[in-house]
Symmetry: C3
């Protein structure tokens, strides 16, 4: 039996503060472009089945109970109390919370209190830049404020995260853009932008990534499965190779989030570049009963000191629970099988489990 | 034990009407560019081994008997009687038969009679366009007849299928081509074409796909493993993303056939877009003893209401048998394991099995 | 129990002749761009764990003993004696040794003597061309010597190998470059080159590949995982499709090395083209405890007569041991499971095992 007394969720979001009905809950189970097809439901997915397996017992119900029964019980307890029971039942001891997505989600302090755990902030670069743009009158002012904001955020946060970078190949060129190029792009963006408008300009994204690299904080980059509007072949981790090569030796670590269905490729990069790390968790929430296989695929090429657990959970504390439970069960099954086969020693298996569950993240993010 | 009393083969072809020798039978086991390498045989493939496992008992022989013995027995029974025994032994209750490939193959009515099953027609778009071209004297006549033929076919068929579309990236642009562009392409194609010449012009293929979308019938698109002359990275399902986004909400479903080795990517698209479905069967015939794993990989990201069984069989009734047997066994093994592990409830497993085996296809294709 | 009395390692390198310390040994366990990240070690990889599992018993130690203890024992025996014990313990009966990489490695004769086995040479095309360039004064002289050297090497070697070809898409165009193009490229390369300078010009690489094709010897092409400085998506086997189609029927076989993480795609090409073969070994050394799954994935699409075993080992005899042990164990597990499930007959399983382990390689390389 592999044990992981500590569990550092190196990438997640907060949870929704409002009561949810069956439909609003279901909408959080997957990232789709449109409502479920007629005659189908997002509860009939690996994520939906995993939620129904792991979460009802934490609220006093039988595993696999019907969604409507579960939602009724959740509302009966109230969003706050249900959230507390779920987060505390997850076994996660530290949350690194990306605050860079829109929506009324709990922050790191809430997650720490509700989950009876440690919590630290991961700053989303795109939202930071958009907020700076909202309050900067001129290009010069924007660029100065941007540099200062990233620098300031680095004092408290444990990492920066970028969602958009990987989807824009040009943003990952192997050199920062020149000052004139940046000023031109900033001018065009600010001129055409309304308050709250998203940052998608590849030159500015590239500028932003290189400012973040200069901060020395680990930089988390989304790869593989993206949100609505993205195209999966544009988030192929191999597209990061040149950026990884260009940032080698600068003292800043790159963490590839998600990866799936390119997790073997992400693991490969973690094997080639000393400063590149691979995420082993977020994909498990999406693949449910297949989590052990997906985890095993990540464990093929990535050195064991370069793999980090996360849930990637967003909106529902159920997803933190599922991410943690699937990870622990998958780790136990995969490493346990290798020990039973004689391929690994029991001591090595236990040591690797603790590295992936917590110790690697503690070292990379400088946690206590 | 998972049960699937109904089995809708949502994509297959008819079978050859002539007696086959060892060599002509072997040539149907794989899609190659050239004869087997010296010293090798296509019987030594997953498909060949699967045929030798499942089919001999249906003709009164031992499993895994030598190919020559099997072929002798097959000829002894005669192609018609052997085909009847095989198709009736497959457990398939409905065949959706693509009549759009060349060759003297049985049609839907034959399949229904020989297999003691229901059968409906899937109309291949490329062959339809080629037949229209064979009988149209002018560009205007061709384009008018083409629209009318597609419209007419939609009255009886349950779906349209396109083989060539995915191999020609331009054919999948996110807008239909303009009328002038279509006329120009049609003129060039008709002028350079002899009777029977294949349609490969990307503008005309694009035009054809959009006419089919307008019909409202489900549109089956080949992705992944293609036939001779294709290049596998040109059939990457991610290349369909823009076309899927452009056709969302128009009321026409897209069904991605095959998928393998990109079946995880096809499943992803089925998860993102409400009108996109993933095929779970044709890849199994090619991967034989590995069918359970391939099926499990499709079950990672695709919502369970978006997965459809097929055999993709062509030419040999043995391939319908193998497709059905591998699917049922793989489904039983994969879902049965998840139930045994506590990951899924027995009721959910049984429900999902029936959805994938038949119910999803009944809903998508409007079967009785 | 599947038995493989003969084992032909169809692609490996020699071993280092010098005593190794912990750090120099560790550096051979993976191909990285830079030293291990602080707090990590390359012993904590699948390859490192596999070495610790299989090799200590061959030197009289317990499996999974600490690296420092193993290295101390290795130095105690001496590099020559340790190498002998390891190679002779691998079970490999024939080594095909690529002599085309730099470094002071043992050659085929050493491998035969130390390993008590047969050994034949595989000639690396790039190194051959570089050596010819070192000693050729003019473009005409270089090109004439190059053709003669390839022709001469073909008399003794069993195969040619190209590392760089796949990384340079243009090198794999479907026609040889014209004489003027070759002369121009050779002139530019020789003019800008110092002695020992590597060949990376795509026109010359293409020229070289086509000279090799004309020799009739099997041509081994690296695909998938490459060395430092490469980019994995540039070694995608599908990029070889046009070259494979262009060389079909010329009488020269192409062997795709490595493949992983694109081994399913490499297996697909081996299924489509009669003269294309897939390597089933080198990926196992990198994936260790996952070897059975990776091997099974290769066995999906590749005809069983088209799969060849190798270790891809380089520098450490431990890697030859690990490659051979992982392969035999994986083969036994994968085929044994299929036999137990009734999917394959025991006779077929044994026959396929011997084909992949040795017989296919004997046929392709014309070994006695």
């Amino acid at each position: 039996m592999i044990e992981t007394p500590s569990l550092v969720d190196q990438y997640c979001h907060g949870v929704l503060r409002t009561e949810l009905g069956l439909g609003t809950f279901e909408a959080q189970l997957a990232r789709t472009e449109g409502p479920p097809a007629p005659g189908t439901t997002l509860f009939d997915t690996q994520t939906g089945f995993a939620v129904r397996r792991w979460c009802p017992p934490l609220l006093g119900l039988e595993p696999h109970c019907p969604p409507a029964l579960y939602l009724a019980r959740r509302r009966e307890l109230g969003v706050l109390e249900a959230g507390r029971r779920l987060l505390r039942g997850s076994g996660i001891t530290t949350y690194l919370v990306d605050t860079g997505l829109p929506g009324d989600l709990t922050g790191p302090a809430d997650m720490a209190r509700d989950g009876d755990a440690e919590a630290r902030e991961v700053v989303g670069l795109e939202l930071l830049a958009e907020q700076v743009a909202d309050t900067s009158g001129t290009v010069e002012c924007f660029l100065a404020n941007l540099a200062e904001s990233v620098h300031g955020a680095a004092a408290d946060a444990v990492a920066f995260a970028s969602v958009a970078g990987v989807g824009h190949g040009l943003a990952l060129a192997s050199e920062p853009p020149g000052p004139g190029e940046v000023r031109g792009a900033a001018g065009r963006w600010l001129a055409g932008r309304r308050v709250g408008g998203p940052l998608t300009d590849p030159v500015l994204l590239r500028h932003l990534l290189w400012i973040a690299v200069a901060s020395g904080l680990p930089l988390q980059l989304h790869a593989g499965l993206g949100g609505p509007g993205s195209r999966i072949d544009h988030t192929y981790p191999a597209l990061l190779t040149d950026f990884a090569r260009a940032t080698a030796g600068l003292g800043t670590d790159l963490v590839l989030l998600h990866g799936y269905p390119y997790h073997r490729h992400a693991a490969h990069l973690a094997g080639v570049f000393p400063h590149v790390y691979a995420d082993s968790g977020a994909a498990l929430v999406r693949t449910g009963a297949r989590a052990a296989t997906v985890l095993a695929e990540i464990l093929e090429l990535a050195p064991f000191g370069k793999i980090l657990f996360s849930t990637g959970a967003h909106g529902l504390p159920e997803l933190h629970v599922v991410g943690a439970c699937l990870f622990r069960e998958a780790l136990d099954r995969v490493l346990g099988t290798w020990v039973a086969d004689g391929a690994w020693s029991p001591e090595d298996a236990q040591r690797v489990a603790r590295m992936v569950a917590a110790d690697n993240a503690r070292r990379v993010y400088g946690l206590g």
